[in-house]
Subunit: 354 residues, 2 copies
DNA sequence: GAAACCTAGGAAAATGTTTACCCGAATGTA
DNA sequence: TACATTCGGGTAAACATTTTCCTAGGTTTC
């Protein structure tokens, strides 16, 4: 809060030497280095032939004055602004935050800055932010959804590229990036098979979520290829809650007493499952192994035992979204739904150990 | 991803009518409305005397052309850019995300746009983003910490106002906003006393966190005022984990068999406590009531029973940070540490019921 | 009816860079 | 020596606004 830069502090008289607190311009640098403004500009933009000593003089003057080019003047001239918009629609940010961070990270390398907007899942607000971002002249927009079900396109005549992250757009010519839930299901089933488990049940979340169906599908695919199947040939669907994890686990165990491993549709469900099994006197993974999905550290790392799970790799997803956006900005859009592979996070609930 | 705006699509010949895809400028509006650019500007900025019919003509022309003023040209002229920077340092975003959302919300009303940066708790990265934001000519900066312990100031000669949210600055002339943990402790203790509980234990988190100490202090203050005290006259400190919740609860119960309520330093700890109590055959809140702190929905709402807790009101904190920043930008900084009151979230772990 | 005063709106400078174009000097070639 | 090239760097016109005058005409006022 030093130097509030407002009208409060006494404006030092404009005394040639340091004109009050005015930021140095390219002209100041030019004068200090004894060259023209064009030369200074050329030094900073690069790609011009200049005598090395001239360039050095300019650079020295610039550092001495703590000069950095005014992006507003730059963008006024050129057609790029070096900014992108990020519209998040996640109340709790469980999903959108890692995506945002990944994107921010990738854009940082590209020298792009990110405008953050929060639409709270509200279409009106989303349109408002869209207009606001366009008025700001962003070069592109990323829309981060809060669930994996496909969503309506943001608009048909948006003058800049748009990338949909997490929730894909329904429009096939849009660019979308989503977690590969089928691969996640495969990864989980592979892990269990590799450890020698064979009687595998699946306790899923809400079947109206594509994510739930995809995870089951991936798991079933691997199991069938191995000559077996999900116990009872299909998954049990229910709400995304711990309570369903407890109830569902007991129901599955009753139907299939031989079950030696249980795949869960989310960490919440797995957490409930672990509680129920422990209360019923079963050891995990000794009597039965358990896997979750999502890798919510808060739940998974502190459960008893710590939960093996699938990480959706959302930060990579964000990074990929950023890459796709910059690619589109550079005139090379890659329409379609891109899938990001998840990661296996093995912990004690399948491996045993402490 | 329509109209990539890049070099890909054939540039329509500049045909007077609609010069390709060039955004309309104030000049286009002026021509269409039959006035000068100055007049258009005056209409949009307001505060000038214009004949109503002239104003209407300009507005009609602007909407017809879908004109919005170029903020880069505006900021080039004026001294404000209408942008602020938000430096987050939270890996998981449990704390910084709600703050960001609150700030974004409050700035939205002020017509300010937010640049998001992620420092990942790394000072180098933080300085990098600081420079980047200053180069972008932001009007101010909010730094969101990841824990409540005070932190070093961002820099001594930053030319724009800075507000520290969640983690206060050590420098007294900086502006900081933090959750009022003492008030949170008071709120929790009040709640329990009001429900008739009298033998109250306190199971805290890591004592090196100011937040932990403050919460205990607030609770003790209320209890002493009511003529009693924390059982054993002091809180039990330990790691912020469920395991500590289980172990600590058992230890406290052994020392103080008469305990009828247990305050916990976090929802994690409370969650562990609930598990231990249930496993030991105690009913909550029949035999003993439990309260958490932080209101992490993921944990608190799904525990058995749902957990009464204290919400840090982080979104309000973010909003307050935004207000303090705009105030400082407007030349009226309010140095010091501002505290935001938390909220009581009563659930079944103290109230009973289903 | 003339002087003073509004009133609505225009002309143009200013904001900080970029870049197309230009020019003088040095260098190379015939 | 005469001419063409290259090299290094300067000139000035954009870029889209805002804002400070300025002015032409209309309205008061005495």
């Amino acid at each position: 809060m030093r130097t509030p830069a407002g009208a409060a502090q006494p404006q030092a008289p404009v005394d040639g030497v340091s004109a009050s607190r005015r930021r140095p311009t390219i002209r100041d640098v030019a004068v200090a280095a004894g060259v023209s403004t064009a030369t200074v500009s050329k030094v900073f933009r690069g790609g011009y032939r200049l005598r090395p000593e001239t360039e050095q003089r300019v650079r020295d003057a610039a550092t001495a004055l703590d000069f950095s080019p005014n992006p507003y003047a730059q963008s006024l001239h050129g057609s790029r602004t070096g900014t992108v918009g990020l519209i998040a629609s996640d109340i709790d940010g469980r999903f959108s935050l890692p995506v945002m961070m990944g994107a921010e990270d990738a854009f940082g390398i590209e020298q792009l800055s990110v405008f953050l907007c929060d639409a709270r899942g509200d279409t009106i607000r989303e349109q408002h932010h869209l207009r606001k971002l366009l008025a700001r002249r962003v070069d592109g927009i990323i829309v981060v959804g809060s669930e994996t079900n496909a969503r309506e396109t943001l608009g048909a005549d948006i003058p800049v590229p748009v990338v949909y992250a997490y929730a894909p757009s329904l429009h096939p010519s849009d660019v979308s990036v989503v977690p590969d839930n089928v691969a996640g299901g495969r990864l989980a089933a592979d892990h269990l098979l590799g450890l020698g488990f064979t009687e595998i049940g699946y306790l899923s979340g809400d079947g109206s979520y594509e994510a739930a169906q995809d995870r089951v599908r991936g798991a079933r695919e691997v199991l069938r290829k191995a000559g077996t199947d999900i116990l009872g040939a299909e998954a049990l669907f229910g709400p995304w809650s711990e309570e369903w994890g407890r109830a569902g686990a007991r129901r599955l165990l009753q139907r299939h007493p031989q079950m030696d491993a249980l795949l869960c549709g989310s960490d919440h469900i797995a957490r409930g499952t672990l509680d129920a099994l422990r209360e019923d006197g079963l050891r995990v993974p000794g009597d039965i192994a358990v896997m979750g999905h999502d890798n919510w550290e808060l739940l998974a790392a502190q459960s008893r035992p710590p939960l093996s799970t699938i990480d959706n790799n959302l930060e990579t997803l964000g990074r990929r979204a950023a890459e796709l956006l910059t690619s589109a900005i550079d005139g090379d859009p890659q329409p379609g739904v891109h899938r990001v592979s998840p990661l296996l996070v093995p912990r004690a609930s399948t491996l045993g150990g402490s």
